[in-house]
């Protein structure tokens, strides 16, 4: 449950004209893409992709949604996304309006086959472009990445970032004002990390994410999942 002071902040933020303008721009971006293309929404369960999913589904809920979770890493024998979290992410996606949602990964050691599964889904639904919930504000690297035309080439892929100009407060204000359920993980970790601006959904128990508050914080915050194995599911 989000603390009242944070909720109030986001509710006040949603009253700003700048917020309304940025949200309108994001919705227009999606509208423009839908006029010429048939996209697939790449959904991770995080706040940004949830907002993207909700915006797209409001315009056309027949657009396929692709979710690939990292599940269990058979190499390091470590859980990367607990089953309970995966189930909740999929459930939240459906609640946000996704009618055609593909959940790939978890049970088999195919978490590395992200693109293989994605391209299969795209081929099945004749999708021409991938919609990603990346924002320029997240990092300088991402600022550079989202610059340029709305639909861009990323190697052989065609990608678009409709939310590229949104602020982190815009995202939370959108979720709060539209009464969209999000992962309870955010509330739990925001209390520890000192704010909703600092929490990010990444793969859990990742040694590679130690510097971003990965492995050690997860070990303390969610010890019940630390030694989870596929045989438990």
């Amino acid at each position: 449950m989000m603390p009242d002071e944070w909720r109030e902040l986001f509710e006040l933020w949603a009253e700003l004209p700048e917020y309304a303008a940025r949200i309108k721009e994001a919705e227009n971006n999606i509208k423009q893409i839908l006029m010429a293309e048939w996209p697939v929404v790449l959904y991770s369960g995080g706040k940004d992709s949830l907002v993207l999913l909700h915006m797209v589904m409001r315009q056309n809920n027949q657009i396929p949604v692709y979710y690939s979770d990292s599940g269990y890493d058979y190499e390091s024998q470590q859980i990367k996304m607990p089953k309970a979290m995966t189930d909740d992410i999929v459930k939240i996606g459906r609640e946000a309006g996704a009618k055609i949602l593909y959940s790939c990964g978890h049970k088999t050691p195919n978490s590395k086959r992200f693109f293989g599964n994605l391209f299969r889904v795209m081929k099945k639904h004749n999708c021409t472009v991938e919609l990603l919930g990346i924002r320029g504000q997240e990092s300088t690297r991402r600022t550079r990445r989202v610059k340029g035309p709305l639909i861009q080439m990323d190697g052989s892929r065609r990608v678009a970032f409709p939310l590229r100009d949104l602020d982190w407060r815009d995202i939370w204000a959108y979720l709060i004002t539209n009464n969209i359920r999000y992962l309870s993980y955010y509330d739990k970790y925001a209390a520890v990390e000192g704010g909703y601006d600092k929490v990010r959904l990444t793969s859990r128990f990742s040694q590679g994410m130690v510097h971003k508050g990965g492995y050690y914080i997860d070990c303390v915050m969610m010890p019940e999942y630390r030694n989870e194995k596929p045989s438990d599911w």
């Binding site: 492995y215 050690y216 915050m221 030694n227 194995k229």
Partner: protein, 240 residues
């Protein structure tokens, strides 16, 4: 390796046990990579350091010694599990703190080496920032059932608890030991105090409300020691 084995096997702890409580007052917050510290692992680490001296720092990490079978602690055992609780803190608050590791360039003139260049962007000397969970507790309490005299002499060497103690976290200010009337090392007020195999202790305590995959013997970081355990903090249902 044989000398290590001999030194550890040669330790014979006294066998008269009684329940007691160890209260450790801390001078700085505790940095952890687990929700708790296992009481027997603290004793085991201190005892091993005492017995092995410098060899303690050169133990195999990839294939750890089965210390639980070699070294006997001055603690009571039931079904192979030591009577020692996990750490009890006086707060539920968890915060995060960033730790910065930088290569010490100031004292390079003291180093006599042929190496001319050190990479700070990658490899062993890489500079990094790491986030850790911090528990701002003032006291850490452990419940044991063992030999008080022997345990207190082992705990005398305890200077700090948790991670990153070298930069001042988890500094121990005072250790007080007092006898308790009952043994709270396994269960206190109906709550589980340490991980132990749920299946083996079903007849003694009943079914735990929360069972998790946890290590139940030292070394607790070794995945080989993981089994389905009663989780610390869970309640037992005796009549299911």
């Amino acid at each position: 390796m044989q000398s290590i084995y001999r030194k550890l096997k040669g330790y014979n702890p006294p066998s008269n046990f009684q329940p007691f409580k160890v209260e450790i007052k801390l001078g700085s917050p505790l940095l952890l990579a687990n929700p708790y510290i296992h009481g027997d692992s603290v004793l085991m680490a201190l005892l091993m350091r005492k017995l092995l001296r410098d060899e303690y720092y050169n133990l195999p990490a990839k294939n750890p010694l089965p210390v639980h079978n070699i070294l006997k602690l001055p603690l009571k055992q039931t079904k192979g599990v030591y009577h020692s609780s996990v750490s009890q803190f006086d707060t539920d608050v968890v915060k995060t703190e960033s730790v910065y590791k930088r290569f010490d360039e100031e004292h390079l003139d003291h180093v006599k080496s042929k190496i001319k260049r050190i990479r700070l962007g990658q490899g062993f000397f890489k500079n990094y920032m790491m986030k850790f969970p911090v528990i701002p507790t003032r006291t850490v309490t452990f419940y044991y059932n063992g030999n008080i005299k022997e345990c207190s002499s082992i705990l005398e060497d305890l200077t700090a608890l948790g991670k990153k103690t070298d930069i001042g976290y988890g500094i121990v200010r005072k250790i007080s030991i007092e006898e308790t009337e009952e043994d709270y090392s396994f269960v206190k007020d109906g709550k589980c105090m340490r991980p132990f195999p749920a299946k083996d202790f079903k007849d003694l305590y009943g079914i735990p409300s929360v069972a998790q995959r946890l290590a139940w013997k030292a070394p607790y970081w070794d995945k080989k020691n993981i089994t389905m355990c009663a989780a610390p903090g869970s309640i037992f249902y005796s009549h299911f």
